[in-house]
Symmetry: C2
Subunit: 210 residues, 2 copies
Amino acid sequence: MSIAARSTYHHGDLRTALVEAGMALVREGGPQALVLREATRRAGVTPNAAYRHFANHQALFEAVRAAVLGVLAAAMEAELRQAEGLRDPAERARGMLAAVGRGYLGFAQAETGWFRTAFAFGVHDVEVPADPARTAAKGLNPFELLGHALDAMVHAGVLPAERRPGAEYLAWSAVHGMALLIIDGPLRNASAEQQQVLGARLLRMVELGL
Amino acid sequence: MSIAARSTYHHGDLRTALVEAGMALVREGGPQALVLREATRRAGVTPNAAYRHFANHQALFEAVRAAVLGVLAAAMEAELRQAEGLRDPAERARGMLAAVGRGYLGFAQAETGWFRTAFAFGVHDVEVPADPARTAAKGLNPFELLGHALDAMVHAGVLPAERRPGAEYLAWSAVHGMALLIIDGPLRNASAEQQQVLGARLLRMVELGL
DNA sequence: AATTCGATGTGAACGATGTCTACATGAATC
DNA sequence: GATTCATGTAGACATCGTTCACATCGAATT
């Protein structure tokens, strides 16, 4: 990208510049593509300058990951908005769960590099409250959006309350697993159509089996 | 490990020595821990010697991955043997599916480094037939073992035949996703008991929702 | 307004890694 | 017994993350 030729000695906002460069790298090549020196290069700065803002490579990586999770949350919220328009509470609640799943799977397909980054080396600390870098408009991270949909299902009487606890882990397992099979598992060569059909079947399985 | 002091100029069986060293590395530290130079060090050999047997780092990695998939298959077969003793065909078929899932989840918990390696950078080519390095006694790879269990369910009348096609992807998605949540996702700090309970719930969800 | 100072960026260096090219060894083949 | 070819060694290179000492500059203090 832009090797920003800089006139001032100080960059101005190097931290965010590095994160943005990292986002670009990782969007193309996944987590492996985040190389500290390249990020500084793109920011028009010496490698060591990064160490004024990040303790090490991993710290930079975590910042990039957080930003990616924010984008994911935004994608899920976009899908959610459609479902929230539905009138019937039961239908709406079910639609919300499906929307969360669709947003997740769609993101994995459309932004593979980012998705890989979001969950590389573990799905770390996704449930902790409200790192603002990880959220979008609603202020909820992806995990919380899922919980939100499940709550709505209980409220609408679609999901028995006694099966609510822990339900996010079951739903997430299914959707996360399929996302991985799609992006570079055995489903990576399936047509987008087939993938969508399987995704829908999976979401129905979750709904039935929860 | 053993830095095999060698008297002969030729190693004798460097290829397998490198794979075994790689297995040990990866068992501890996951896929990132496979470093070519360290593997050659442990084999008591110059770094370049590796290039007589593997085109590059990735080729070595794939060989290690294949070996790991073989161990996984063995773990799943061990679980399967218990279920195969059951008399009632329906119960047996259901038991086989559960056994496959348990083997998978148990392997993820017990051999985290190996599990991460098996599915790092994508669940590549797991469905292709019978790379012998990837199989255990039965000659079936993990994917085929799952298909085997599902076939048994159809045969026993537990799973409607029209829902059989593609069912492995639904089941695998769920189990694979949960494995990831357990090894370094939000469930990594849950007690082994809680993990097992959730695993059982997940498998029931699959059975119901397939 | 001049001085100080802490935050930010630079320069040069180190050890480690994957990989290349040229050379050495030795077991199998003719 | 000479030759050949698979296998291992030696040395080098570019790149990466990271460290230590030094440079620059905006903002706070006097």
